[in-house]
Symmetry: D2
Subunit: 304 residues, 4 copies
């Protein structure tokens, strides 16, 4: 498969189509990013890299970080996680409180905000230095020591996290989080403020394509059984309210973020990340979604 | 891969575990089936068959038929289907009317009852002899001319379809179905009353493993792109309220029915059907779910 | 109190204001009525009558009939009614199925459609000739032997009662109705198709102002305790989704119908009916609502 | 009417019936109150007082304070309040976030927690010294200068107000409150921590029976039109999820609190307060509800 040509052809087609969607503005810092940015990076399980455009430029990974949080939590607590958060698609918006009320404070899955906050609470309880530990973990996954949290994004988001505070206090009311709400929020907002490039994300997501082994040295981070489970949750719950449509049109395991990134995985084959800030009405990168759809169409290969 | 040994080992383990779940009783005719029945049949894309137990005995496929209905509808109307029914997980029970009311009569996906009823309505509008056409279609897929509808199941269910009538009249109120409610119900109940064996179902589901081509003669029934889409919907919406858990633990594309059957697919590899009537609280075959989980665990291979 | 002058002044003011709202069109027969009709009739507990405009012309009372159905059912079964239908405001639309699903088929109150249908089911089970019995009952309350059901309205509505059929089959699924769905629907639609004038409605509603005694002969139809209860349900649940606003601005016990009528009661003082077909967005007569608001403002007297 | 004898007879009957319900325990300080307390105090618009039992002992009025908050807000901002909070029964629990999410942060009415919090936010914006002003206001209504906030209850509740914080941050997210969440919470919890006796509450609620004029000096606090409106909201929304049942069985305007108090009004006749700490499953004083039911049954008079 000539991935380089495919990435280039797909990019040309996507960039030739009219731009749709809007750059996220609810976090003021994110709205400063140019709508014209476009990065695309694919890494095979054999370690080959293919890239197009701004694939080396860092952006705010936001909700993509929920996958790293979940992975770290599964490493620490394993199957016990199931008592605290479910694995079913929510059928509701990612920041909805409705289902949480009907289901007594147990979040549907770890990728809606409520679920990710419970995962953060759990990590806060077991890690000695949660922020440093988590940063080290992501650096190790992507084999890159310079990855950092973006303090401007953290400050910008903390000032406006009313909805997440509402979710946290609701969880607190149900006894679903053990630490202080503000402490959990701070860790969550920090974790989502990781700045990474398409290249770094593809390398990090390599473990989900490679049976839990790091691409650069083959060391195992996660057993195959847990990789399967994380991939399954990404597929059924990874694209906010659009997981079905994404599976339907793209057919890859993936997680998106409001920074405009989508990190995707074809288990056994490759990890691929695309970045384009304008979001569709469901909150997913419009051009990113389209690029991945064209990728699986042109290669004629998807998990389905 | 020695599938025969794997099927046998898995079956022994499943049958050695205590029986849980209850045979469906809301359709009186279904409650007459012995809880002890157990069939398991795997067919590879190369056409090899492996089987255990009652894999040749026919049972009521019920909701598994929704996959055949969807496939037939996509053949007839293609992408226009998207205007009538969505592809997102519902996050609600399969027979819920709540979301239908909130979303103005557009069903979330074709595997909840509301969605399957819309698919039936659509087929009624385009097929000259819907019941015969649909029967011929399923016979062709499974390469078996003796498959029939079970009239006792049809009669038993029609007398008690209050909830489906409620859904139908609600759809009618929103203009989401064009034909008479009773006519749509009759076709739907009939289609779900197909009696098929694990062997026949595996053969029919072969098209979803084999890029849309029939296993026995290689003829194309569906293009690869549509196979991908149907498989995606099965994965995200195929197991009632338990799609996430099923993807998480099993990692195959699948559709279950209250008759105790689960037909599953590993694209590019095999189709496999398991049948055990006792259902777990979510309405899926308890032993069937477990058998498929052990199958992907032991073979170490799933779509994830 | 000079009620005649008050009615006239109020009517002039209401009719001088710009017309808002739309005549109900979902029942084709109702849409034929002139939007310009306006009737206003007040009857004191002493039996004095005051009227303005088209107060002697009959119109389709529609949901106002739910009060008569409830009254007749309480006569027959008394407190047992409480097992079949609640007395709480629903907080949802009058034809919603959402709450019915969440609350297992027990309607919130007898004035939403689901509740009125359960009341009809109950009357069908206990009355020998339900339609004739109910007609005789309303004739007796209003002291008028010529009141009739309107067959054109019945036919017009029956053909389009999809939503009520959905509610009925849902109730049937929960075991909340005992008779056949179509039979209950037929009785319900017939009862709502009573044609009555403002004058006749005011006379009939006199029992709710007069401690359960008929205005024309003082005979008791209902004990004071039951009058209190029916009036309470009218106040909290009588104006569809606008019961709070109506209590807030008008302060009378009342029930409205999509035919544009509102029958209201000031217990111990008077019954008053107003009719003007254009409905506000909540389904209540716009000018009728306004006329009653001005009536209690000008007289400076309401139940509050 | 011999109210003294009626109060005594009713009290005897209520106290002879088996005790049901439980003293509120979610605020630890409230759980210290004896379940055996029982106070009953009626004040006529002529200023006559009738009392039984612990009617002079102060208790935590809790949600009854929402009526005073609403009254004070209407004095300050009048009809503009309608833009910030509705007047419809919610049909949901008093602390639900579901409807708030579906209706974009506009609370259904001022007596559910979300609505009362918006009222508090509004008072914080317009009053110079909100706590002192509000205390002075309630002292004036009840003609008693010794009424105070209970600091132990305030501290006890503030430590556990997770759910109210969730509501506040959700409101903040919708822009429905202008002040800081913690500031609003502090004022709300303080206002609910007023300690008053049945006697003091009956005197204060006298304005709602007396057309807005203070019982002890006839001075007008509120115009008749606003009294009507506040009474209407109390009737349709004053008893949590049990407003319909309360109107149905009692037939008085009233507001309850989890401290076990219910303050009720028969407009034009009397105000009456009953206190008994054990609460029924809906959160209303069980014996208090029963006492008021017997009061209107025995006197044969209610607003209906």
């Amino acid at each position: 498969m000539d991935y380089q040509t495919t990435l280039e052809t797909v990019s040309q087609q996507v960039l030739s189509e009219p731009t749709r969607g809007k750059v996220a503005s609810y976090i003021p810092e994110l709205s400063k990013v140019s709508a014209a940015k476009f990065g695309f990076h694919l890494t095979t399980v054999a370690g080959e890299d293919y890239c197009v455009g701004d694939s080396g430029e860092r952006f705010s990974i936001q909700s993509i970080s929920k996958v790293f949080l979940l992975t770290r939590a599964i490493q620490e607590v394993g199957p016990d996680l199931a008592e605290r958060v479910g694995v079913e698609p929510s059928g509701n918006l990612f920041d909805s409180l409705v289902q949480l009320e009907y289901e007594d404070g147990i979040p549907r899955n770890p990728f809606i905000n409520a679920g990710a906050l419970v995962v953060c609470d759990l990590l806060l309880s077991v890690l000695r230095h949660p922020k440093q530990d988590f940063l080290d973990f992501v650096r190790r996954l992507s084999n890159c020591e310079t990855i950092e949290y973006d303090p401007a994004v953290i400050a910008s988001e903390l000032a406006l996290s009313h909805r997440n505070r509402a979710i946290l206090y609701m969880l607190k009311g149900y006894g679903s989080i053990k630490n202080e709400a503000e402490e959990v929020l701070d860790f969550y907002v920090t974790a989502c403020a990781l700045a990474m490039s398409c290249r770094e994300l593809s390398h990090a997501f390599g473990i989900f394509a490679n049976g839990g082994r790091l691409l650069h040295n083959g060391k195992s981070v996660l057993c195959q059984r847990r990789v399967k489970r994380i991939n399954a949750i990404m597929l059924t719950c990874g694209q906010y309210d659009e997981a079905g449509e994404f599976a339907f049109r793209v057919g890859l395991v993936a997680k998106s973020g409001v920074g405009g990134g989508i990190a995707a995985v074809y288990p056994g084959k490759y990890a691929v990340t695309v970045w384009s800030p304008p979001l569709n009405p469901k909150g997913n990168s419009d051009a990113g979604f389209r690029a991945l759809e064209l990728l699986t169409d042109r290669t004629g290969a998807s998990i389905f």
